[in-house]
C-alpha cells in the first residue's frame, strides 16, 4: 500500500489531467450502457404498465373478428355469460371525438413510429361493471351515475387543465350528428386507465355514447374478469378457448396485454442500435485505455528500469500498473454512472418524443449499476493487461541507458503479419456472419476490436511507406522543416503507432456514425417525401367522410386530393402465427396523381401493379415484410376480412416504414368490400403548379377547418417535424463519435510533447545552427499533420468497413430494408477533422519546442 501511495498515486497526481482524459472512453461506455438499459426498462415498463392499467383487471377481451373498426351487437354479452368461470363482463364502445372549440389545429401529434389519434377519445361504459375492471382515481367531483342515458362525462385531469375545464362545466364535442354537449361531473388522475390516449380521454355512459355516435346497440369490446383472478396461463388459455368456442368465429378473444407487444418490439429495435454504440464506446474506451497505458509505460520505462534495478520484482511493477488501471476503472465507472444518470434523463425525453408516449421516472436498478460498473472496471483491466505485462518485462538495464532509446522489438518487425491476419480474419468473420441473430450480432461486434487492433498492428511496419509518400507534400506545405518533421515520425514508431491508432478510432467512429445516420435518414427521407405526398396534409381527430375530399378537391387551386385510411388487420403469417398489420388503403388512381409509390427493387412493372391494385382485391406489401417473410410478387397474404381469413395476392413490394414496416397497402374498393370501412383518416392534397400552398391551406382552413374539425398542415412543415425528430434520435450517436476524436487528439498532444522533451538537445542544436523558432514550430506541426493523415486515412478505411457491418446488422435485426449510403462529404470531413485536430493538438508541444533555450538544451542530459 505504501508503495502504491508513493509510486502509483503520485504518478497519477503528476499527470492527473491526462489520467482523467484517458478515463473518457470508459466513462462514455458505462454511461451509455447504463442510460440505455435503464431508460429502456423505464420505457418498456411504462408501456406495459400503460396497457396493464388501461386493461385493468381484465384478463381477456372479446372483440369483433372482422377488423377492430367495426363493433358488434351488445347481445354478445348473453353468449359470454353462458361460459363458466367469468365474474365480470364489461362492455364498452369507443368514440373518437374532439372538443368543438379546440384550437390546436395546426400541430400534428407525431412520433417516429406513427401519429397519435390525439383529439379526445371517449369510452362509453357501464359504470358499475367498469369500476370492477379498472381503478379510476377520482380527484374532483364524482363518478358517472348509474343512469345509462345521462349526458355526463368524466375527464382526465390533465386534459381538463389543458382545455381549462372544471367540474360542472358543459363541454361541446364533435359527433357524427354535429356538436353535442356533455356535463363534466368528475375528473380522474392521469394514471391507471387515465393514461389512455396520452390522457386525452374521457368516459361517458354506454347508451349516451351509442346514441351520440350513431352506434345503435353496438359495442366495440367486452372486458372479461374470470372468477379466479390469478389464473395460471393454462387456466386462462382454457377459458379463452371456451369463450372462443361459445362466441364463434365472428369474434376474437384475446389477451389484453398483447397490444403492448408492438411498441415493445419497436423499442427493442432502437435499443439494439444504441446498445451496439455503447458496446463500441466501451471497446473504443478499452482501446484508448490501452493506448494511454502503453504510452505511460513507454514514458516511464526508465523509471521502471530503475525500480527493477533497486530490487522491485516484475510482479511488483505489473501490480502497480494494474492498481493504476483499477483506479482508472473505478473512477471511469463511477463518473460513468453519474453521467449515465444524467444521460438517462435526456434519453427518456428523447424516447418520449420518439414514442410519443410519456415515460415515468427512470429508476436505475442495482443490477444495471453493478453490470455497468463491472464492465467498466473489467474492460479497463483487460485493456491495461498488455502494457502492465510489458512494464514488468522492462529490463533493469533500461535505467542505465542514455535517455531516448525506447525498445522497439518484435511488434515493429513482425506485428504487421499478425495485424494483417487479424484484419483479414475480422473482415471475413464480419462478412461471413450477417448477424441474423442477436447473439451472433454481439459476437460480431467483438470483431470490431479485432479490426482496430489489426489495423493498428499494420501501422509500425508501414510508417516508412506512408512517410515516403507524404514527405513531398509536407515539404511543400512546411518547407524544409516539413522534411525534418516528416522524417521524425519514424523515430519512435511505437508511440507514433499509438497516436495514429487513437486518431484512427476517432475518425472511424465519425465515418461509422455518418454512414449509419445517412443511410437511415436518406431512405427515411425518400419514403417520407413519397409517403407525405402532395402539398397539404388534412387529417382530423374525428372520422372523415369521403365526401369531404370531394369538397376540398373543388377548392380553387387544388389539383388533386386522395383519401387515405389506416386500420389494423390480423394477418396469419406463413409460419401460422397471427400478427397485427397496418392496412393503408387509398384511392389508388388519385394517389398516383398526388404522389407516387416507391417500389422496392425493379421486379415490378409500376403501371400494371398500380392498375391491378386499383381494380382487383390485391395488395402491395412493404419491403420489410417481403424480406422478413420471404414474400414476393405473386405470393399471397392471408388477412382477416370481415368474413374471415382471405388470401390477397401481392402485386407489388413498396418501401414503407410506417408502423415499423408492418404495412400492407390496398385500394379503396378492397377496403370497402372486405373490411367494411368507408371513411378516411387523412387526405393528401396537391396544389396546382404556381398556386401558393399557404393560400390554399388558409382557404381550406377557413372553409372547412372548423366545420369538419380538420387539422390542416403544409407537408413541408411535417417533413420538418419528422426531420427534426430523426436528427434528435441520431444526435446521440454523433456526440459519442465526436468525443472519441477529442480523446484521440489527446494522443497527439502526448506523443508530440514526449518527442519534444526527448529531442530538447537536438532542437537546441538545430536552433544553434540557425533554425528559426518558426521553423521549429513547423517541424512539429508537420509531424502532427502526417500522423493526422495516416490516422485519418486508416480511420476512413476501417470506418467504411464498420459502417457497412453495423448497417447490415441493424437492417437485418430491425427489418428495415435500406440502401447503404456514405456521402463523400462525410469522408472528406473526417479527414479534415483529423488534420485540424492533429494541428490544434500540436500547438502546445510546438510552442514548447520553440521556447527551447539553446544553451540549456545543448547541456541537457
Amino acid at each position: 500500500m505504501r508503495l502504491t501511495r508513493l509510486l502509483t498515486f503520485r504518478s497519477i497526481r503528476s499527470r492527473s489531467f491526462r489520467f482523467l482524459l484517458s478515463a473518457f472512453g470508459i466513462i462514455l461506455g458505462v454511461a451509455g450502457l447504463l442510460a440505455i438499459r435503464s431508460t429502456n426498462q423505464a420505457a418498456l415498463g411504462s408501456i406495459s404498465k400503460l396497457f396493464e392499467s388501461t386493461s385493468g383487471r381484465a384478463k381477456l377481451t372479446v372483440a369483433s373478428a372482422a377488423t377492430d373498426e367495426t363493433g358488434f351487437s351488445i347481445r354478445a354479452l348473453k353468449d359470454v355469460s353462458k361460459v363458466d368461470g367469468i365474474q365480470v363482463a364489461s362492455p364498452f364502445v369507443k368514440a373518437q371525438s374532439d372538443l368543438a372549440d379546440d384550437t390546436k389545429s395546426d400541430t400534428l401529434d407525431i412520433g417516429l413510429f406513427g401519429t397519435n389519434s390525439g383529439g379526445l377519445l371517449l369510452h362509453g361504459i357501464l359504470p358499475a361493471q367498469e369500476q370492477l375492471i379498472r381503478d379510476y382515481k377520482l380527484v374532483a367531483g364524482r363518478f358517472l351515475s348509474d343512469d345509462p342515458e345521462v349526458r355526463e362525462v368524466v375527464l382526465v385531469e390533465s386534459f381538463a387543465e389543458d382545455e381549462k375545464v372544471v367540474v360542472g362545466d358543459l363541454i361541446e364535442i364533435i359527433t357524427p350528428n354535429g356538436v353535442k354537449e356533455l356535463k363534466v361531473v368528475g375528473l380522474v388522475s392521469r394514471d391507471g386507465p387515465g393514461q389512455t390516449n396520452n390522457g386525452n380521454f374521457g368516459i361517458i355512459p354506454l347508451e349516451t355514447a351509442q346514441q351520440m355516435f350513431n352506434r345503435g346497440s353496438d359495442i366495440d369490446q367486452i372486458d372479461i374478469v374470470p372468477v379466479n383472478q390469478n389464473p395460471t396461463t393454462k387456466e386462462l388459455a382454457a377459458l379463452r378457448d371456451a369463450l372462443q368456442a361459445e362466441m364463434g368465429r365472428d369474434y376474437s378473444v384475446t389477451y389484453p396485454s398483447g397490444q403492448g407487444q408492438r411498441m415493445t418490439q419497436m423499442l427493442q429495435n432502437y435499443q439494439i442500435g444504441l446498445n451496439f454504440m455503447s458496446g463500441i464506446a466501451l471497446f473504443v474506451g478499452a482501446f484508448l485505455i490501452y493506448n494511454a497505458f502503453a504510452m505511460t509505460v513507454v514514458e516511464r520505462t526508465r523509471e521502471f528500469g530503475m525500480l527493477r534495478t533497486i530490487g522491485m520484482t516484475r510482479g511488483q511493477v505489473t501490480g502497480q500498473v494494474f492498481i493504476e488501471a483499477a483506479m482508472l476503472g473505478v473512477l471511469g465507472a463511477g463518473l460513468g454512472v453519474g453521467l449515465g444518470i444524467v444521460l438517462a434523463r435526456g434519453l427518456t425525453r428523447l424516447m418520449e418524443i420518439i414514442l410519443n408516449q410519456q415515460i415515468g421516472t427512470v429508476a436505475i436498478s442495482p443490477a444495471d449499476m453493478t453490470l455497468s460498473i463491472g464492465l467498466g472496471v473489467g474492460v479497463t483491466f483487460l485493456a491495461a493487461g498488455i502494457p502492465a505485462w510489458q512494464a514488468g518485462r522492462i529490463s533493469p538495464m533500461e535505467a542505465l541507458r542514455v535517455r531516448g532509446k525506447s525498445k522497439e522489438g518484435w511488434v515493429i518487425r513482425f506485428g504487421w503479419i499478425g495485424g494483417l491476419l487479424m484484419l483479414a480474419g475480422s473482415i471475413y468473420l464480419l462478412i461471413l456472419n450477417p448477424f441474423s441473430y442477436d447473439v451472433q450480432f454481439r459476437l460480431g461486434s467483438m470483431t470490431v476490436f479485432g479490426l482496430f487492433t489489426g489495423a493498428t498492428l499494420l501501422i509500425p511496419a508501414t510508417v516508412g511507406v506512408w512517410e515516403f509518400i507524404a514527405r513531398p507534400v509536407m515539404k511543400l506545405i512546411y518547407g524544409a522543416s516539413g522534411n525534418l518533421g516528416s522524417r521524425n515520425i519514424q523515430r519512435s514508431r511505437v508511440r507514433t503507432t499509438l497516436t495514429v491508432a487513437a486518431l484512427m478510432v476517432g475518425v472511424a467512429m465519425v465515418i461509422m456514425v455518418r454512414g449509419m445516420t445517412e443511410s437511415f435518414a436518406g431512405d427515411l427521407r425518400t419514403w417520407i417525401n413519397a409517403y407525405l405526398g402532395g402539398d397539404i396534409y388534412v387529417t382530423s381527430s374525428v372520422k372523415l367522410r369521403s365526401d369531404i375530399g370531394d369538397r376540398i378537391e373543388s377548392t380553387e387551386g387544388v389539383a388533386a386530393v386522395t383519401p387515405i385510411r389506416y386500420f389494423n388487420v390480423d394477418w396469419r403469417t406463413p409460419a401460422g402465427e397471427t400478427e397485427k398489420l397496418n392496412f393503408m388503403a387509398m384511392d389508388v388512381r388519385a394517389y398516383t396523381t398526388v404522389t407516387n409509390f416507391v417500389f422496392s427493387g425493379d421486379q415490378t412493372d409500376p403501371d400494371t401493379a398500380v392498375n391491378r391494385l386499383a381494380d382487383e382485391p390485391t395488395v402491395f406489401i412493404s419491403s420489410v415484410l417481403a424480406e422478413k417473410y420471404n414474400l414476393k410478387v405473386g405470393d399471397t397474404v392471408n388477412l382477416k376480412s370481415r368474413s374471415g381469413y382471405r388470401e390477397f395476392e401481392i402485386v407489388g413490394v413498396v418501401v414503407d416504414f410506417y408502423n415499423q414496416g408492418l404495412v400492407v397497402q390496398g385500394g379503396w374498393e378492397t377496403m370497402r368490400r372486405y373490411f367494411g370501412i368507408d371513411d378516411a383518416s387523412t387526405f393528401y392534397v396537391k396544389v396546382e403548379p404556381g398556386v401558393s400552398v399557404d393560400r390554399v391551406q388558409n382557404f381550406i382552413e377557413s372553409e372547412y377547418g372548423k366545420r369538419y374539425h380538420l387539422t390542416i398542415i403544409a407537408n413541408d412543415s411535417i417533413r420538418g417535424q419528422v426531420t427534426d425528430l430523426m436528427d434528435q434520435a441520431f444526435s446521440m450517436f454523433d456526440v459519442m463519435a465526436l468525443i472519441s476524436i477529442v480523446v484521440g487528439s489527446l494522443g497527439v498532444v502526448n506523443t508530440l510533447t514526449m518527442s519534444v522533451i526527448e529531442r530538447t538537445r537536438e532542437i537546441g542544436m538545430l536552433r544553434a545552427i540557425g533554425t528559426t523558432r518558426g521553423q521549429v514550430v513547423k517541424m512539429v506541426l508537420a509531424e502532427a499533420a502526417l500522423m493526422g493523415v495516416i490516422g485519418g486515412l486508416l480511420g476512413i478505411a476501417t470506418g467504411i468497413v464498420l459502417a457497412r457491418i453495423l448497417f447490415i446488422g441493424m437492417t437485418t435485426m430491425s427489418g428495415y430494408q435500406l440502401t447503404f449510403t456514405l456521402p463523400p462529404q462525410a469522408i472528406w470531413l473526417s479527414l479534415v477533422i483529423a488534420l485540424i485536430v492533429s494541428q490544434v493538438a500540436a500547438i502546445p508541444p510546438a510552442l514548447r519546442a520553440a521556447r527551447v533555450r539553446i544553451l540549456e538544451a545543448v547541456q541537457y542530459e
Binding site: T309, I310, R314, E861
Partner: protein
C-alpha cells in the same frame, strides 16, 4: 573473506553473424570496505562487467559470488531479490523519481521490500547527515541541484546497507567541483560505514579516490593498480594517468 568474487567470467554477445567477446575471462576479488574503480577505454567491457556484478545480466561462462551467493544461476526473481538486498546502484543520470521528495527517494528500496520505513529513521538521519542534505530532505528532485540529486541517489543506494555499492559514471553528468564532492562522499561511506564501493569511470580524477583501480582492455584485466593507502591524491592520479598512457600506446 572477499565480499565479491569474479571467477573466470566471460560474456559473449551476438552481433549479426559475429560473436563478440565483451568479457574474455575476468578474475578478481573485492574485500569488504574496499573502494574499487574500474577503468578502461570504450568497448573495453567495463559496463558489461558492472551489469554482471549487479546481477542485471548473467555471464556466458564463469561465476560471480556476492556475499557468498552465486549470481550465475539465479532465476530472474532471485536475482531481483539479490539486488534488492545486496546491491546499491548509483547511475550517471541520478534516476530519482520526480514525484517523490529526497527522503522518500532515499527510502524507496525499503518500501519496495515491504518494510516499514519508520524503522529506518535512524539510518535515514545518519545518511542525510552524511550527504549533508538534512535541511533539504523534503525537496523534490527538480528543486535540487545535480550534485544534490546525486547525493540523494547515493543515500538511496546505502539505505539497505548493501554488500556492494555499484556506481556507473557517477560524476559523468556533473561539473568537476561537484564531481569531486561526490567522490569524497563515496570515499567517506567506505571509511565511515565500511561500505564496499565499485565505481566504473573513465575519469582518472574520480578513479584516484579509489583504493584500487582495475584496468580493462578488450574484455580482460590488464592492470590491477593498488597504490599505498597513504599515497597522496596527486600521486595516485599521476600513477593512473601513467598506466592509461601505457595501455593506450
Amino acid at each position: 573473506m572477499p565480499v565479491l568474487e569474479a571467477k573466470e567470467i566471460r560474456k559473449q554477445y551476438k552481433l549479426g553473424k559475429h560473436t563478440v567477446d565483451a568479457l574474455a575471462g575476468v578474475n578478481f576479488q573485492v574485500e569488504k570496505g574496499e573502494f574499487v574503480a574500474i577503468m578502461g577505454p570504450s568497448g573495453s567491457g567495463k559496463s558489461t562487467l558492472l551489469h554482471l556484478l549487479g546481477g542485471l545480466d548473467s555471464p556466458s561462462q564463469g561465476n560471480i559470488f556476492l556475499a557468498d551467493q552465486s549470481l550465475a544461476k539465479l532465476s530472474e526473481r532471485k536475482a531481483t531479490l539479490a539486488r534488492r538486498h545486496n546491491v546499491g546502484f548509483v547511475f550517471q543520470f541520478f534516476n530519482l523519481l520526480p514525484t517523490l521528495n529526497a527522503e522518500e527517494n532515499i527510502l524507496l528500496p525499503v518500501i519496495i521490500d515491504g518494510k516499514n520505513p519508520k524503522k529506518y529513521k535512524d539510518r535515514l538521519n545518519s545518511l542525510l547527515d552524511l550527504i549533508g542534505l538534512q535541511d533539504r530532505r523534503h525537496h523534490k528532485p527538480d528543486q535540487l541541484s545535480g550534485g544534490e540529486q546525486q547525493r540523494v541517489a547515493i543515500a538511496r543506494s546505502l539505505i539497505t546497507e548493501p554488500a556492494i555499492l555499484l556506481a556507473d559514471e557517477p560524476t559523468g553528468n556533473l561539473d568537476s567541483k561537484t564531481g569531486t564532492a561526490i567522490m569524497e562522499l563515496l570515499r567517506r561511506s567506505c571509511q565511515e560505514l565500511q561500505q564496499t564501493v565499485i565505481v566504473v569511470t573513465h575519469d582518472p580524477k574520480a578513479a584516484a579516490y579509489a583504493d584500487r583501480v582495475i584496468f580493462l582492455r578488450d574484455g580482460l584485466i590488464v592492470q590491477d593498480y593498488k597504490p599505498a593507502s597513504d599515497m597522496p591524491l596527486t600521486d595516485r592520479l599521476r600513477g593512473i594517468m601513467g598506466t592509461m598512457e601505457k595501455l593506450e600506446s
